[in-house]
Amino acid sequence: MSADEQPGLYVESTIIMTTVRAVAPFVLTFALFIMFHGADTPGGGFQGGVIAGSVVMMLAFAFGIEAARQWVDVRVVSALASGGVLVFAGVGLGAMALGGQFLQYNVYEPYYYEASKYGIELVELGIGGIVASVAIGLFFLLAAGFGHVTDGEGEP
């Protein structure tokens, strides 16, 4: 199969589309559960982020990669990735600003109920954002194929 035949990659199937439409909300909910609940049960940002990223891939398999690419907003994906790093670093540096050490969660204690726990959950959410958006980015990157890169550069 050559790169020119790429539209043939996608097979429109009512069964797959209907299944994905029914399953995707639950997968996304599960991903958020894994992320939010990582503090008390197995899981956390890395695992939840990967599952959240796989929702987009599921949609791409059901409705076509091109359709999914147009549907996903690049600004949201890059904001998730860089926002995740900023949130993580921000929680760490915020603790230093309050007179503690880097990522010393209990200095937030006077400001918020169970601050250590929610600080950790915030960090997990940040990790989830990074992992999900990088997974989505890699998926679209590979799906676009490498054959086009040299072709595209030669043309203009």
């Binding site: 503090a39 956390g44 890395f46 995740g84 760490g92 990522l103 250590s116 998926f139 799906a143 086009h148």
Partner: protein
């Protein structure tokens, strides 16, 4: 060392999948065998009571990796072949067997699963985490406590590595993959 029925069948399944991944001629079949292998390993992690690792293996190994392999495969030329298996090179088999033998020789010296006298359980650091994690971080999952609190700086480094790897891959390949 005795295996329960479920452990034994999982081990056989994982080994068959691993050999299938190595030997199957058709790349698509090999990728699917590899996904099955990852899924088997993730269930083994669950049986060994390491649910965090199992969840990661299932999501990353069986999920994302398989999708990325499939997508990469779709962009390559797949030669049709009548043969089901690769031709076996005996020199490679001998080398792999020797490697497995060396690694396998270390297995009997591992402590039994769940052994309370294993060195890692009695270790000062392990005991500190187990007895202080909830008090100090208000997090019931000790794995999360270590990852996000005690070793938080390392985890920040890992997250930044993932982030920069993604950014670099997207910018080096210079593809406008999003519209």
């Amino acid at each position: 060392m005795s295996l329960s029925l479920i452990e034994g069948s999982l081990l056989v399944f994982v080994i068959v999948c691993a050999i299938g991944t190595a030997l199957l001629k058709n790349t698509l079949a090999a990728v699917i065998a590899f996904a099955a292998y990852s899924l088997g390993i993730s269930i083994i992690w669950l049986v060994l009571q390491a649910p965090d690792v199992g969840l990661t293996e299932a999501a990353v190994g069986a999920g994302i990796m398989t999708i990325l392999f499939l997508i990469a495969l779709a962009n390559t030329v797949n030669r049709d072949t009548d043969r089901l298996f690769e031709s076996i090179r005996w020199r490679t088999v001998a080398f792999v067997a020797a490697f497995v033998l060396v690694i396998g020789a270390t297995v009997p010296s591992l402590p039994a699963i769940g052994d309370p006298t294993a060195p890692v359980v009695g270790g000062e650091v392990t005991q500190y985490y187990l007895s202080n994690a909830y008090k100090e971080t208000q997090v019931k999952n000790a794995v999360t406590a270590v990852l996000a609190a005690y070793r938080g700086f390392d985890t920040l480094g890992e997250a930044v590595v993932v982030f920069s790897a993604g950014v670099v891959a997207l910018s080096v390949l210079r593809r406008e993959v999003f519209t």
